[in-house]
């Protein structure tokens, strides 16, 4: 049972990081399709940083930097130049996939994975309760989500973020610099999601091509399923992670095909979007540009 919980938590950590980023971005009115790309960039830059410095802590910083860079590109295009958020979001993901592969070949002359780099936890990536607990990023993931709740509901910045996502005209008219708030929100989302990617890479002690494997989209699903509220989103992340854990543990029994378990987060999200009871309603100005 303890093993189950630990494994769930371990799987949930990247979701928590990315979903925290997704919440702040979407609450500010910028669609968070980019989480996947930010994560992948973060994972790759963390690997680079750790490889060249020999310290996973430098890796974390490099990962955050990479995510921030990708996020600033997204913000420049969608906020400064008011380009369409969906189009640019998709492109940022493509860019992350292409660029990580390109630089993987450039830096390590490999098309599949980096060499082993210093990371956190036990050397054997798959085992060990203690190994997971020893990973500082696991704790940081939980802390990030708590911090996000505090930021959104207990600080002036959080109030501005919510205003920018719900009623930007009203916020502008009382002097809130909506575009600057959105810039900040997107930057934070890039750094949070990148930490999720850095966790993956440093936990496995290497970067593998496309290693985020859709986790950014599961995080986005969690944000929507959790109705853009940090508490509910945390529960959604844990729920999705628990389903995955269950599937891994029951694999041998062949009770349910793994593909059906994979679908759970997406199906739940579609139902939540369409549902008559307890439906998810997005921030009013999500996806709309501001002059």
């Amino acid at each position: 049972m303890i093993g189950f919980l630990i494994q769930t938590l371990r799987i949930a950590v990247p979701y928590l990081f990315a979903a925290a980023g997704g919440i702040v971005s979407e609450r500010a009115g910028v669609i968070a399709l980019t989480l996947e790309g930010f994560m992948l960039t973060g994972a790759f830059c963390a690997t680079l940083g750790s490889f060249y410095s020999g310290s996973p802590w430098v890796g974390i910083l490099a990962g955050i930097g990479g995510g921030l860079l990708a996020a600033l590109l997204h913000a420049l295009s969608t906020i400064r130049y008011r380009a369409d958020q969906v189009v640019v979001g998709i492109a940022v993901n493509l860019l992350a996939i292409g660029a990580t592969r390109f630089f993987l070949r450039l830096a390590f002359d490999s098309s599949s994975n980096s060499p082993r780099v210093p990371g956190f936890g036990a050397s054997d990536a798959r085992t060990g309760v203690l190994a997971s607990l020893a990973n500082p990023l696991a704790w940081l993931g939980i802390a990030t989500m708590v911090a996000m709740g505090w930021l959104l509901y207990r600080t002036p910045f959080g109030l501005r973020v919510r205003a920018a996502g719900e009623k930007p005209e009203a916020a502008l008219s009382v002097g809130v610099p909506v575009r600057r708030v959105r810039w900040a929100a997107v930057a934070i989302s890039g750094m949070c999601a990148a930490l999720g990617g850095a966790y993956l890479a440093l936990d496995q002690h290497q970067f593998t091509d496309g290693m985020t494997a859709g986790r950014g989209f599961i995080a986005l699903a969690a944000v929507i399923f959790g109705k853009w509220d940090p508490k509910r989103v945390t529960l959604a992340c844990l729920l999705f992670a628990a389903a995955e854990t269950m599937q891994i543990r029951l694999q041998a029994l062949q009770l349910v095909p793994s593909q059906f378990v994979e679908m759970i987060p997406y199906v739940l999200t579609i139902i939540a979007l369409a549902g008559v009871v307890g439906r998810s309603v997005q921030p009013a100005a999500l996806g709309k540009a501001v002059e």
Binding site: S77, A83, D84, V86, R105, L172, F217, Y266, A289
Partner: protein
């Protein structure tokens, strides 16, 4: 008619062409220039000479029959997914689910091809497979359309999520029920295959090019006719430019959305035929990976016009095949980076160029008057205050009708909710 009457008409026509050039052709060219610069930088980082890489890229694609055949093959799939995305955007909807619809269409075509006896007449067999592909894609497309129309669920999110669901389902079916041992694909279809281009000229030997490209061209023509020559297409464009005004003008916007997403899914589903009927003759897990997302790039660069889509599909197919041709010099992933750069640059440049042009024209005219056709530029924008004037000068309904009748202005706000 006198020359005095003809002259203004000629000037007007010239101005219209100029506007169309500035709005539709200039931004993609600017974007390509930006991509070329980024490409140069990447190539130099990798220690190669850009001129040599670009030369090999062209030689490996348009320089020989095999490369050209591959470009045709890739452009065929991209034309279908590009048309699917473009049709949606014209109606103000974002279909990001082409990926899943393509796979679903291909799977359905393979199932029908498998079910038919080997001796089925080729025309009937192919037709039935095409119908199956259309149905397979259409069903997947209809779901987000109906959910948007009935519940206001964001089609962007639903299509993304549905991609994962559909692909997982198909993987399950193939893995659990009909795969050939030790592979991830179904057995070969018994009937319905489309001939390869090799049968026309042996020069194409080895390339995947097949007659499906004719279907793609036919689909582009059909989409053009539907968009600009039918009532349904007019309603579609009106709904895309100003849903509220269209509703006021008697269009059932919800119904249009459901219909458009279904059609969009049909187009993407037909794209699956290129691989299943034309190339490998079986359905394989992940056969069209990436084509759905590239369809967005194709629609964007093609300015959501069927002709533009075909040209843009050729462009991205060239890039994709060209990446393989230069892989010995620089990693083929360079073209993925360039594709992304093109998308971002076009998405960023188009509204910016439009705004700049609008500003110039307004200053030239000396007034702040609303210009038909172009003033509708950015419906998704939120303005501070209420008294900024400009949008109020013509009624929303009028400007919709004006804009809907000019095929040039083409990027409505897909993010808005009903």
């Amino acid at each position: 008619m006198t020359t005095a009457a003809l002259l203004p008409a000629a000037i007007e026509r010239r101005q219209r062409w100029q506007a169309r050039f500035e709005e539709s052709i200039l931004p993609p060219l600017v974007a390509l220039a930006i991509a070329a610069v980024v490409g140069d930088i990447l190539i130099i980082i990798f220690g190669q000479s850009p001129g040599e890489v670009y030369r090999q890229l062209l030689e490996g694609t348009w320089g020989n029959a095999y490369g050209f055949g591959q470009v045709i093959y890739k452009a065929t799939t991209l034309t279908f997914t590009g048309l699917a995305v473009a049709l949606g955007i014209r109606a103000g909807l974002f279909n990001i689910g082409a990926e899943g619809q393509l796979a679903s269409g291909g799977f359905a075509a393979a199932l029908v091809g498998l079910a038919m006896p080997a001796g089925t007449p080729a025309v009937i067999a192919t037709l039935l497979c095409l119908l199956a592909a259309a149905a397979g894609g259409g069903v997947v497309g209809a779901v987000p359309g109906v959910l948007r129309a009935r519940f206001g669920a964001s089609e962007v999110i639903v299509t993304i999520m549905l991609n994962f669901v559909v692909l997982a389902l198909l993987n399950y079916f193939v893995a659990a029920h009909i795969h050939v041992e030790e592979t991830l694909h179904t057995p070969e279809i018994r009937a319905g295959a489309v001939p390869r281009l090799t049968s026309v000229s042996p020069a194409f030997t080895g390339s995947a090019a097949n007659m499906t490209f004719l279907f793609a061209l036919a689909a582009a023509a059909a989409v053009w006719w539907y968009l600009f020559r039918t009532r349904g297409g007019y309603e579609l464009r009106a709904a895309g430019l100003q849903p509220d005004a269209a509703e006021y003008g008697g269009v059932r916007v919800g119904g249009v959305w459901a219909r458009v997403m279904t059609f969009s899914g049909v187009l993407a589903g037909l794209g699956g035929v290129n691989y299943v009927l034309g190339y490998k003759h079986y359905y394989e897990e992940g056969f069209g990976t990436g084509s759905g997302f590239l369809g967005i790039a194709v629609a964007l660069v093609g300015r959501n016009h069927p002709v533009g889509v075909v040209i843009a599909a050729l462009l991205f197919a060239t890039l994709s095949q060209g990446g393989l041709a230069v892989n010995a010099l620089v990693p083929k992933q360079m073209v993925d980076v360039l594709t992304a750069v093109v998308i971002i640059a076009v998405a960023t440049a188009v509204p910016e160029v439009k705004r700049a042009l609008l500003g110039v024209r307004r200053r030239a005219a000396g007034t702040g008057k609303h210009e038909p056709g172009t003033g509708n530029g950015e419906p998704g924008t939120v303005r501070a205050g209420v008294g900024t004037g400009e949008p109020g000068t013509t009624t929303a309904a009028q400007s919709t009708m004006q804009a809907a009748s000019s095929p040039g202005s083409s990027f409505p706000d897909p993010g808005s909710q009903p």
